[in-house]
């Protein structure tokens, strides 16, 4: 085996220029593929992360009717039984984040506007989305507070600041009137414009009082200890929860529209990557084909001397693997600093593209993913391509006619 590997490696450098050109073509294709894929995964990751963080969480427990009709009347009752059931999951659940949300009109002296008023447990919410990091003015609310936090965009629209008072009017649980005056304790920047222009946070206790919805939640976010085991936890929750009353939803189900959009968008990238890899495949195949054709006499000589066809085929197979792996590894090595740079310095978007991102409620930046999968997935594709191409010389070696090859 050692001699076969040695021969394969040395054969690669018999025509240095050709090998280097082929390796370079693989290198640049892998580099491009990784950068594109990282960009795509980065954007998707950011979108999902933002949505999970600020909106859905990984898992939500809702009233069985809430998803179809998201009204406070379809809120769930967070009673002792539910609390005990969730406690039973022990350290599989990292923490729970209760929310009670509903629409309300928010009024200042001169303006009225629709807004989303969300009752939160500030300490638990802090764990989920680092609210304090986004505080631009004032202080965070506490559990016992009856003050509110207003999103920066909304505060700007209403032209209000910390210490000002807002009037909230809405409909509470089962048609009750919800009305009250609330002092602004802090202003937070929620990044995503859709949220930033609409959100008002108050303590869960205050919200339950405001909406006349004692012990009720529109959603209980459940954060798994290990996010990778989200699906397993959903299964276990579904198995133990009373499904006549409650529904357990994963983030993928809650964000299915977004994921469908991503898949559609990803298809375009896949087509582009496919074309890129087809180009690599043909480049590689051309080199291997030339190597085979120009070495017919040598192969015939090796068979004459007593080298087995399997050994000869393996040598050619290794040559294909070496050339593609050299390119792939060099491509990955070069891609790491590039991706790392863009990971820490995402590309800011401008113009129409930025507006489109803002319309979808996302930050107008092009983030990159620095995940081993991004690199491994491309290496895997190159491996598959090289194995497929490597099969051609294997086939040819088993079919080689010594007498024809000698001539």
């Amino acid at each position: 085996m050692k001699i076969i590997l040695t021969l394969a490696w040395r054969n690669l450098w018999r025509n240095k220029r050709r090998s280097l050109i082929t390796i370079s073509s693989v290198l640049f294709a892998v580099l491009l593929a990784i950068v594109f894929y990282s960009m795509e995964q980065g954007s998707y990751g950011r979108m999902i992360d933002s949505m999970v963080k600020y909106s859905t969480g990984y898992i939500q427990i809702q009233d069985v009717f809430y998803e179809d009709e998201p009204s406070i009347d379809n809120s769930l009752l967070y009673d002792d039984e539910l609390a005990r059931l969730l406690d039973g999951f022990g350290n599989k659940i990292a923490y729970q984040v209760p929310r009670l949300q509903n629409f309300a009109l928010v009024a200042t002296e001169g303006q009225t506007r629709g807004s989303m008023v969300v009752g939160i447990d500030p300490e638990k919410e802090q764990k989920l989305n680092d609210l304090s990091d986004n505080l631009t003015e004032g202080e965070l609310i506490k559990n016992e507070d009856s003050d509110i936090l207003v999103a920066e965009g909304l505060a700007g629209i209403l032209n209000v600041h910390t210490g000002d008072t807002l009037v909230l009017i809405g409909q509470g649980f089962q048609g009750a009137t919800a009305a009250g005056k609330y002092r602004i304790k802090g202003i937070i920047d929620l990044k995503l414009p859709e949220l930033n222009n609409n959100m008002i946070y108050m303590s869960l206790q205050a919200a339950q009082w405001f909406y006349m919805a004692e012990d009720r939640l529109t959603a209980l976010i459940v954060m798994p200890e290990n996010p990778k085991e989200t699906d397993l936890l959903i299964e276990e929750l579904n198995a133990s929860i009373d499904q006549d009353w409650y529904r357990v939803l994963g983030w993928e189900e809650m964000l299915k529209d977004l994921l469908a959009l991503m898949s559609f968008d990803m298809a375009g990238t896949m087509v582009m990557l496919f074309i890129l890899y087809i180009v690599i495949a043909f480049g590689l195949f051309g080199t291997i084909l030339t190597m085979i054709i120009e070495r017919q006499r040598e192969f015939a000589m090796l068979l004459s001397l007593g080298m087995k066809r399997g050994q000869l085929a393996l040598m050619c197979f290794f040559e294909t693997l070496f050339i593609s792996f050299a390119g792939a590894l060099a491509g990955i090595a070069l891609a790491i600093p590039v991706v790392l740079w863009f990971y820490y310095n995402p590309i800011p978007l401008t113009g129409e593209m930025a507006e489109a991102m803002l319309d979808y409620g996302f930050e107008p930046i092009m983030p990159f993913a620095f995940d081993p999968y991004v690199f491994v997935s491309q290496a895997r594709i190159v491996l598959i391509i090289s194995v497929l191409i490597g099969l051609y010389p294997v086939y040819k070696m088993f079919r080689l006619n010594i007498m024809h090859a000698k001539q």
């Binding site: 021969l7 054969n11 004459s304 001397l305 007593g306 087995k308």
Partner: protein
């Protein structure tokens, strides 16, 4: 002792369309320790005959016995294995592996035979000494002259301890001095170590040294002469 025997050996190319008889009912026997030159004009069947007894090509008719083994009935993989352990080849255009040094080229065949590394190394060194290339062991073929490359090829052919060596016009690409050097080495190996050598050649220098000269004409044996040399 008989080492090679052919019976009614025939080879017809383009069997279906325009048949060309390259060999026609050739019956020959070779003894251990012979130094034989197979001569004849171009197209007389010299190389075809060598390819047949070397197990590189299959006859259209007839049989080839190497020792007790009838090689035309062997499968491709068995034939490769048979060649590895029984036949040494020296080609006209040397055909050394360009990516291996002289010593590695000689060792290569022993590696295929799975020879013990120490024994392999010692034998490669010894063979290269025998062909006068002890100072070129770590040199790749591209840095060797044609004559030196052919001497490495002879060492490689001997490395597997074959029953006989087939040399297809080994001196054709060599200058006079290199050809004489090569022939001297091969004659010495033949005499001192009783190595059986069968050449196909046009080269009078080889013919003049051969103890047996077989002349092929139109694929058939025209003459078979023995000489005391």
């Amino acid at each position: 002792m008989k080492i090679i025997r052919t019976e009614k050996l025939s080879k017809i190319y383009n069997h279906q369309s325009l048949p060309v008889k390259a060999l026609n009912q050739v019956n020959l026997e070779f003894e251990t320790g012979e130094f034989t030159a197979i001569v004849g004009p171009s197209g007389s069947g010299k190389t075809t005959f060598l390819n047949m007894i070397g197990g590189l090509d299959k006859p259209t008719e007839g049989q080839i016995f190497i020792g007790d083994t009838e090689i035309t009935s062997l499968s491709d993989s068995k034939l490769i294995d048979f060649r590895l352990h029984n036949i040494g080849f020296v080609f006209q255009s040397y055909n050394l592996l360009p990516v291996l040094t002289a010593k590695e080229n000689v060792s290569f065949i022993m590696l295929l035979q799975k020879t013990n590394p120490k024994e392999m190394d010692a034998r490669a060194v010894e063979l290269l000494k025998q062909v006068g290339l002890e100072d070129k062991m770590d040199v790749r073929p591209s840095k060797l002259s044609g004559g030196q490359q052919q001497r490495v090829a002879v060492a490689r052919a001997l490395a597997s301890k074959p029953r006989f060596i087939l040399a297809d016009e080994p001196t054709a690409n060599l200058d006079t001095q290199s050809a004489f050097n090569l022939l001297d080495i091969m004659l010495r190996l033949n005499k001192e170590e009783n190595i059986t050598l069968i050449f196909s050649t046009h080269d009078q220098r080889v013919i003049d040294r051969a103890r047996r000269v077989i002349t092929l004409v139109d694929g058939a044996v025209d003459s078979d002469e023995q000489f005391e040399r």
